[in-house]
Structures are given as C-alpha cells and as structure tokens.
C-alpha cells in the first residue's frame, strides 16, 4: 500500500542543491529531508500497520480457526481443517437450540406474525424495485430480504410458538429493544434540556456520568438494585406482595433487566450528541415558527427533526454497532441465565472458549460478525445515507 506521495511538490527545506556534494550536508539534514519527502508514508503507516497486525491478522486467523478443529497439545496446537462443520453445528446441528433456538413447528400466532411481516418485507422490496433499480442495490436488498425472512421465521418458530430462542434472538432483542429505548429517552431528555431552563450545565454533567462507569460495575450495581429482598427497592416489592419475585429467574424479566442496565449506561451518549445537535438548530427559525403560532409538536416535526435527523441517524449507527458487542452486562448480571435466556452471542462465544472449544467459539464469533455487518451496512445504506441525501 505505498502512497504515491504528495499531490503538490513539497518545497524542501534547506534548499536542495543537486550540485552540492553529499558531504556538504550533515546526516541530520539528510535524514530530516528524507523524512519530509516520505511524510505521507510516515504519517499513515503506524496506523495501517497496527490495524493490520491487531485487527486484520487476527480476523484472518479467526477465520482459519472457525474452519478448523483445534486440539491443545503440550507446547502447541494441532489444527485440522473441517470445512463448514463448526457453522453447520450451530445452524443445523446439535447446537441449534443454543444458537437459533428450539424449534417445534409454528403455531397459529407464529404463522400470522410471519405472514404479515414477510409480506411487508416483500412489499417494501418490490416497491423499491419499481421506483428505482440498480444492480448493486438489488443484490444488497435481495440479501437483506433473505436474511430478514430467515430471522422472522426463526422468531415465529421459537418464541411465538411456545419455545425459546437462542443467543441470536437474544442479541437481536438487546440491539433492537435497547437501541429503541435509548433513542427515545435520549432524544426526550435532550429535547427537555434544550428548552429554556435553568441548571442546564448541571443536568448535562449529571446525565453524562453513567458513561464513565465501567460496565462491570454497572452490572453489579444493577444486581444490587434488582435484589427484591436486600436491595434498595425491596420495601416496594414487599409492599406489592412480590417479596420472593426475582428478576433473574424469568427469561423475559431477566432480558428486560439487562436492557435497563444497558440503557442506563448508554442513554448519556445519545443524549449528549443529540443535545449538541438540538442546540445547533437555528433559533431564528424556531422563533419565527412560534410567532406564526405553530404548536410545539408541529415545530419539532417540521423544523427541529429534519435538522437533527442526520445526526440522529449517525449516532444510532454507532450505538447499533456497539450494541451488538454486548457481553459484560449479561455476564455479570445473570451469567447468561436462566438457562441460556440472556446469553448474547459474544457471551456464547466466550463460554465456548472457556470450554476450550476454539473452533465453535470462532464460528459463533464469525456468525456475530456476519449479522453485525449485514445490519450495520443495511442501516447505513437505508437510513444514514438516505437522511444525508434528503437534507
């Protein structure tokens, strides 16, 4: 990846005189001249090399591990190529219940849900095809539609049919539920803080604090909060007659509990960025609209939202990327339990690694990477770029 150097000819320091013999110039000058001539390479190479070594190389190694069976031997590893076996085990084989969920035929509710959503997806797809068509967009959307239908069928066949879903479903729940809650509350708080109020700095500082605390600490803090016998809210639970209720014992309350902890930590991030966006909206326009007698909701929808939409789309992209990586909170708050109900895919891979099943661990990690990339690329192309184009 050799850069071609600067576009404009750099003006060399010290006056380059080709006529002068090399001994005229000290080594130092020559070195600094060489450094300056090569500045393009010198500036960017550390980053490129570091990313190659610590990101691209491990990524490739992980791919090899995912296609292999690895045995730990004294003083080294024995690697045997097994093809797609590790992936097949997760998707079709004995680990299917763990990754996708337990299948048991689709119930009526599941059929209704699947039919409605799949027809919506197909409708969206065909509508797009009729309006504007290009090959790359077509292939990408076709891919996305296939994956979406697969996921819809998975949800319909597991949760909606009375069984439970695996770590893929749990991860998607964290991402969608978490990001939705965080966006709504973050935007709401930012909107409130952008009103003419006192103590703006105070709120801004206080609301930012959760982002500074280590996720491990947040996990334990929320375990204390959720304790219905010794935690701070136990009087409330006792009063409500739920003294022996435990959040972590039921699959859905445990998942919601983790989303609450996650939101507590990440709402500040969305809040801070959206508040900066809201404060950038021009005051004149807002006041003009107010003079014209527009309502608050109308002002928000017609003036504020279009201006902060690009920022909102990008901040949500960042949040979605980070949300897929969730591992600390479920590990601490529930250790993935009850059963596998709160296990995210990262945690699943971590547990597989702990049981020294490196091939499975890498396969799960790669499946996570695949899902993340598909989701993020779709989000980027369909939401972020769309917003940028429209404004």
């Amino acid at each position: 990846m050799a850069p071609s150097g600067d576009s404009e000819t750099p003006i060399r320091p010290g006056g380059v005189s080709p006529a002068g013999s090399p001994s005229d110039r000290s080594i130092r000058v020559r070195v600094s001249e060489w450094l300056d001539y090569r500045h393009g390479t010198i500036f960017i190479m550390p980053a490129v090399v570091m990313i190659l070594i610590f990101s691209i190389f491990p990524l490739a190694a992980s791919l090899i591990i995912a296609f292999s069976r690895i045995r730990l031997r004294a003083g080294g590893y024995q690697v045997r190529f097994v093809g797609f076996k590790n992936f097949a085990k997760q998707i079709f084989g004995s680990e299917q219940f763990h990754f996708l969920g337990a299948f048991k035929g689709i119930s009526v509710l599941g059929w209704v849900f699947a039919t409605v959503l799949i027809s919506l997806v197909l409708w969206w797809f065909f509508r797009w095809m009729r309006v504007r068509f290009n090959v790359l967009g077509f292939v990408g959307r076709l891919f996305l539609v296939a994956i979406a239908i697969g996921l819809i069928l998975m949800i319909a066949a597991t949760v909606l049919s009375g069984t439970r879903f695996g770590t893929l479903g749990t991860t998607l729940f964290y991402v969608f539920a978490g990001c939705l809650v965080q966006f709504v509350i973050g935007l709401g708080l930012a909107f409130l803080c952008s009103q003419p109020i006192r103590g703006k700095t105070f709120f801004r500082v206080v609301f930012f604090v959760p982002l500074m605390i280590t996720p491990i600490g947040i996990g334990y803090a929320f375990r204390m909060m959720a304790d219905t016998t010794k935690g701070p809210f136990s009087p409330v639970w006792q009063w409500a007659g739920l003294g022996d209720f435990a959040w972590a014992a039921d699959a859905w309350t445990a998942r919601i509990f983790i989303v609450i902890g996650d939101s507590w930590q990440w709402i500040p991030f969305i809040f801070v960025v959206l508040l900066a966006g809201l404060e950038n909206v021009s005051r004149d326009q807002l006041e003009a609209a107010e003079v014209d007698g527009a309502g608050r909701w109308q002002i928000f929808r017609e003036i504020t939202w279009p201006q902060i939409a690009p920022v909102a789309a990008t901040v949500m992209l960042i949040r979605v990327i980070e949300a897929f990586k969730i591992v600390d909170l479920p590990n601490i708050m529930t250790s993935g339990g009850p059963g596998i109900a709160t296990e995210s895919m990262s945690l699943h891979a971590l547990f597989a690694w702990r049981s020294l099943d490196l091939g499975q661990s890498a396969a799960i990690a790669y499946l996570l990477l695949f899902v993340t990339v598909v989701m993020c690329v779709s989000f980027f192309n369909l939401v972020v770029l769309d917003r940028v184009r429209n404004t």
Binding site: S4, F54, V79, P232, S346
Partner: protein
C-alpha cells in the same frame, strides 16, 4: 368563567416567545429531576455500600448513613491496608495502561487522520491484492504446513515487495483517501470476541501475555477507529492556509503538524482523549484474556470480588468501583475546559 379561562391561559400559555408556560415548566423540571434521581441513585447506593459492614448489606436495605446504619471503613481498610499490594498494583496497572494506550492511540490516530485530510493517497488496487494474497500464503504456510511464523512472514513480505516493484507500473485502478478512511473506521464494527483468541495466541507466541505492552497495544488498536474518525473531522474543518504558508517558509510536514496543527486542534484532541481514555479505562474482555496476575486492571479486580465461597463481596466491590470512577471524573474536569460542544457533533454529522 372568564376568570377561570385567564387562569388556564396563565398556566398553559407561554408569557413570551422563547419562554415556557408555568405548567410546562413544572412538567419539564419534574421529568429532568426524576431522571437525575434515576442516574444518581445507583451511584449513591454504590458509595454507601462501600461504607457498610457485611451484616448491614445482608440484613436488608439501609439508606442513610448514621441514621439506618453506622458507616464503617472496614472494606476500605481491607483493600488499602491489608491487601494494599494487590489493589494498588491493579490501580497502577490501570493508570499506566489507560494513559499509555490513550497517548499512543491519539498520537497514531491523529497522525493518520491528518495525513488522510491533507495528503492524497493512491495505493494501487493491484498492490493490495498482492499483499492480501501473500499474507494468505503466509497463513496457510503457518497453519497447515507447520512453518515457523517468522520465516513465513518474512518470505511473504519479500514476495510482496518483489512483486510490487516488478508489477506496480501495470496497475491502473487505485483506491482513494475515502476508502482508506472507511477501512479504518469500519474496524470498529469488529466484535472484540472475534479477534480476542488470535490476539491471545499471538501474544502467547511472543511471550508477552500478562504484560502491560500487550494490553496497551490492544487497546490502542481497538480505539484507533474512534480517534481517526473524530480527528479527521476536526482536521478537515481547519483551514489549510496557515499550513501552506508555513510550508512556503520552509517548515517540514512534521514540524507543521507538531507546531501549527496540533495546537489548533486542542478541543478535538481533548474530546478524543477523554473518550479513548474512558473506553480503555473500563475495558474488560481483552483484559480478561490478556492478563492473569501481574497486569491485572481494575475491571478485573471488580469481577474478582465475585469469586470465592463467601459469595459476592459487595462492600469491597463498591470500594473498587468508587475508586475507579474518581480518576475518570478528574480527567473529565481537567479536559472539560478544552472541549467545545461542537466536537462530537462535527464528527457525527459525517
């Protein structure tokens, strides 16, 4: 009737443009204050738990020190008097690792970002393909032929340089700065769990497991995309004129960068530093894999309070969490004055 309406008007209609009606005001402050309570209560609970005795924690909820329970320093004593070696070692490890990783990351990241903002790169597409192929060859050599990794890497690099020297004139298609930037930023999508096992093996093979260097390098790279992204947007917004005149006066690029660009970009640097600092200070997964005893960081210490037959040591854990928050808040206050509000926004606008 008339009186009532005027009361309603007073309550619900803003007195002037840009002001809020009293009723709205009440709603707004109630919401904001309740969120403040929601944010602060867990932190308050951690702080008071760190002063509770084991009995006080286990007997039920006690809220106010000196009223419900008598605060005791036993957990603090245990950590900072009896076990001071372990605690302080983890603390220093964390400080050294977070500071070095942040410095390295911001330095490398801003250099790359500056270069991408100012220098035009045109790496040939063909060279990249050759590089990838030679690396794949090296991998296969190590993985399936059992070659020594150093030999394999050296051969692959030699082949790469030879082929590029020989063939690069014939390559036409090239990628641009935007592609390089996207490549760097997109590394953030990578879930840590995908790369953590190979990184573990890599450091194991060079005997660097459980050292500061291993964790510092890893943290530097995982945060590099953020640094590059934030700093790139900042550098793009700085006008070029100053640098150009400096170069006309004979300054080298490095000097221009060091003496003109960096001082100008203090707000961006402060925001980036703070963000990278927080992320590397709180990171858990990589530290879990890469450290066993000597290089343990604070998050590992927090998690370690869960081990043992005594169950979770809530009081000691709270102490660790409290002492972990303090440096971050100090750092934030220190950097606060440099950060202008617009920095994050500029980056996010894309």
């Amino acid at each position: 009737m008339k009186n009532e309406r005027s009361l309603m008007t007073q309550l619900f209609e803003p007195p002037a443009i840009g002001k809020m009606a009293p009723a709205t005001k009440i709603v707004v402050y109630t919401l904001l204050l309740s969120w403040t309570a929601f944010v602060l209560f867990p932190i308050y609970w951690i702080i008071i738990t760190s002063f509770k005795s084991a009995v006080d924690v286990n007997r039920g909820p006690f809220f106010v020190p000196w009223v419900d329970f008598t605060p005791s320093l036993h957990a603090w004593k245990e950590l900072f008097v009896f076990d001071w070696k372990d605690t302080l070692q983890a603390y220093f490890n964390s400080i050294i690792i977070a500071l070095s990783a942040t410095l390295l990351c911001v330095a490398i990241g801003s250099m790359a970002a500056y270069a991408l903002a100012r220098v035009e790169y045109k790496p040939k597409f063909g060279s990249i393909v050759i590089f990838v192929l030679s690396m794949v060859g090296a991998f296969l050599g190590v993985g399936y032929l059992g070659m020594d990794w150093r030999l394999s890497l050296a051969v692959a690099l030699a082949v790469f340089f030879f082929l590029v020297k020989a063939l690069s004139k014939h390559f036409k298609a090239s990628v641009g700065n935007g592609d390089i930037l996207f490549w760097m930023i997109s590394q953030r999508i990578l879930p840590p769990i995908v790369v953590v096992v190979p990184i573990y093996m890599m450091f194991q093979s060079v005997h660097l497991l459980d050292t500061h260097i291993a964790i510092i390098l890893t943290y530097t790279v995982i945060n590099l995309p953020i640094a590059v992204w934030l700093m790139y947007d900042f550098f793009v917004s700085i006008p070029k004129d100053l640098e150009e005149s400096a170069q006309l006066d004979g300054a080298t690029r490095l000097m221009t960068f060091w003496e003109i660009v960096l001082p100008l970009s203090r707000p961006g640097l402060a925001a980036t530093t703070l963000l990278v600092m927080i992320l590397s200070w709180n990171e858990y997964l990589f530290a879990l894999f890469l450290s066993t005893s000597r290089a343990q960081t604070m998050p590992i210490l927090v998690a370690a309070m869960n081990a043992g037959e005594r169950g979770i040591l809530w009081w000691s854990m709270s102490v660790v969490i409290v002492v972990m928050i303090i440096p971050v808040i100090l750092m934030a206050l220190l950097l606060q004055s440099f950060i202008s509000k617009g920095v994050l926004l500029g980056a996010v606008k894309g």
